[in-house]
């Protein structure tokens, strides 16, 4: 498993990326992160939800209760315009960081 600091810093990046094209609920976010990272990254509710609420506070995402007839209501999260800008910045920063790390260490992805 990855070190917790690194994980924490990238968590918001992950969530924003997953919400970029689709709205999802919390459980789905967690499952996606887990399955796409092949189990390397997982979150507990203790870290996932407080983070989601913080991101909502910052205006990056917005959570809405969605009800379908006959189903229990669920809270779905969607990315906001501010969230998209933040995602752009994070993506840019990440690439720069990865490139820098690669240059220093000689490790390349793939």
């Amino acid at each position: 498993m990855l070190g917790s600091d690194l994980k924490k810093g990238s968590a918001e990046f992950l969530v924003l990326s997953l919400l970029e094209h689709e709205r999802r609920h919390g459980y789905e976010l967690n499952k996606l992160i887990e399955s796409r990272s092949k189990g390397v990254l997982t979150f507990h509710i203790a870290s996932l939800y407080p983070m989601l609420y913080r991101m909502e506070d910052r205006g990056w995402i917005i959570g809405r209760w969605v009800e379908k007839t006959g189903e229990r209501r669920r809270r779905f999260y969607a990315i906001t315009a501010a969230g998209r800008r933040a995602l752009e910045k994070l993506r840019h920063g990440w690439l720069e960081f990865a490139a820098a790390v690669a240059q220093v260490t000689g490790v390349t992805y793939g």
Binding site: I45, D57, T69, R75
Partner: protein, 889 residues
Amino acid sequence: MDEWRAQLRAVVAAWDVSPEEQAAIVDELEQHLEQELAELSPRIGSSAAHDRIMSQISDPALRDASVRARHRPAASVVASRARAFGWAGIARDFRYGWRSLLGNPGTTAMAIIALALGIGLTTVMFTIIYGTLLRGLPFDEGDRIAVIMEANPSQGEPELQLSTHDFFAYRDAQSSFETFGAFTPITVNVSGTERPERVDGARVTAAALSVTRARPALGRAFRADDEMPGSELVVILSYPLWRDRYANDSSVVGRAIRVDGQEAMVIGVMPEGFAFPSSSRLWLPLHLDPSALPWGAGTNVSGVGRLKPRMTYAHARAELSHIAMRIEKDHPQANKGVRVVVQPFVRAVLRTQIYALLYAMFAAVGLVFLVACTNVANLLLARAASRAKEVAVRAALGASRTAIARQFLVEALILSLLAAGLGALVAQAGIAAFRAATVDVEFPFWCDFHLHPQVLLFVAFAALLASLVSGVLPAITAARSDLTEVLKDQSLGSSSHRSGRLSRTLVVFELTLSSALLVGAALTTKSMLNLRSVEPGFRSRDMMTGRITLSNGDSSSQAAFFNRLDEQVVRLFGATATSITSRLPGTGWNERRVAVAGRSYARAYDQPLVGHLAVSPGFFKAFEVRMLRGRPITIQDRMGAPRVAVVSQRFSEQVLPGMDPIGLRISLNARDSMPTWVTIVGVMPTLYASSPGLDPWPAEVITAFHQEQHNSASVAIATRGDGAFVAQSLRSLVASLDRDLPVYSLRSMSESLSQATWPLRVFGGLFVAFGIVALVMASIGLYAVMAFSTSRREREMGIRMALGAAGADVVRLVLRDAAVQLVVGVSLGVVLGVVAAHLGRAALYRVQPTDPAAIAVVVATLAAAGMAACIVPALRATRADPTRSLRAE
């Protein structure tokens, strides 16, 4: 409650957020953990999975999570409870309600559309009623203007004008009215400067105009001395007549114009929009002089008065009744059984049928409104049930029952306000459609169909009412729900049986109202179709008609004129193509009482009511009416020859059953001192009649126009698609006979027939709209309830299927459930509809209230719509996963 759920609540309760948010957060986290538990249990065993969940909850990171209040500054539970009663609490309810409605856009949109249609249609109907009845006369204190008429119930006369003597007797003895005048409607020929024109107006006493408190825009009003015998004839013009005929020329005041061939001095012009007492375009003074007349003779008039301040209608009625009794005692011959009738102007002038029709329509639209509210109540109930847990958590976290109930009411209020906005647009469109449909209908002059501020107030009131009606049930249900019951319950609140029963009852109620409305709609539609396909029994296509009224000359010169006119039109258009009649068939039948020679009748009332027309010999050829027996009226039936009549088939069946009518003598004025007896010479098929007092296919009597005295006549000419040319030729022909004589009401026969049927077309159309809207809403309601109840029973369905039930069995089960509601609702509704239609059968045309075809259509439509609404939830139930259902146990 599971241990972990309790633990989770305890942790979140320590967070610094509002109770609502706590409830929402608990809900969200609980769902997450439930799903995780369901997924882990089969893999690692339920107790290990449980441990993992517990470890997540006990993670100190969760307890210490720095979750700040997201929508308001931190506040303790106690403070928020105190505030729940203040404005801040209500504002928060609105915010929360708004978010929660947005969370479920489908349901919200459906509810808003249903309510908007309900409010919109109700507003259209209210606008019509407001513009016709409630707004009243556009005069200062117009509701205090009364019309004074008489009635003679013992003679079956509900409405009589006042004789000249009676008018003066009331006027001089009464003390209830500050002004008391008389009027009588007239139609005159105005000529002089330009082409002659036929103008509707009124003869009025000076007091009758001053009753309105309206002042002339130009010149002066009438004075008492204008009514004196021998005074110069004066005339007041209406604004439209002044604008159209005299081109807004103010110098016309003081000039003379010709009215019915007499010089009359124009003394004034009334302001725009003034057409008192009924569509008047010109006013002449009313000369009344009872001194030389026996009691009861002379001009008959309508009385009009303005109540004195603080005087009531009841008082005026009592006083005038007293005077009427005194007159009866003093003049029993003329006034036996005569009663006085004092009514507000609008009520007196509108026919009772119109009154009844308008209120019937209002009742119908009220039903649509109720259906809409019921629908919304149902949608809200379903939401309330699926939110049972959220509500229970809120209650557990300290929300009071009032706060919870209020939350639901606020949501209903938000829905209603949005619906009111949309409904006002619907109303605007509806009113525009109504005006377009009645563009050629002449309404009473005070009618004004706009979205008045009062109407908008009504919309707002309707919205408030809607929110109360539709919100109160869900609010009560939600507030009453038992906390521990709901929280203990794992299965998403199957404890909502109570609200389920309520929903079902509401759906049955909705179905009842909708099917009642649909029965009405089906019956009126059938009436409309019957009317449209009516074969009137005479030629109505390609006939141009016009009307002529003579205002000069004695009766013999008038008879000579019409003889000459008949010769001329026959020469110009051919003997088989023209007809001169007292009025037009179809719309113009006169209602008369008929006496058969040798029979005695105790009261006028006992004589059968018949339709009467007088026709020229050309009538039967031009209107293609063939004789069944005997002969038609011919050119030999002229003045001086024995008087003859033709009767309809219906007449011989109804008045002379089992007798040969030919040769019998009848009279249409048997109670006059000099009755005229006519001999029946022929029987014709019954012709269609559109007349308020007559059956559509009544007993009819046709007499010879040229054997009687008439001062007006309708001319009908068969055309070959050249109506406009024929109309022009007729006009110049009449002008060649008398330069001052206008031909008016130039229109085709089919136009005149369709004009008579507009109320049925317009209100029938409205009714159909009501029915369809109600049908759609009832279907939506049924769908919502079935979808909801099947989702509740998912586990049961799953178990049934696990035990071997096929999908078809499950579908049948769901449909059977719906069928019960449908059968109960539709049966009640059909009975209600038939009863209502029976009460309003005057509006139906050749349709019985129990018409089997109409009822079959309604039942089939509702059954189909109802089943369609259930099939989707039924199919969804078959997809219930047996394994999942069993695991959940």
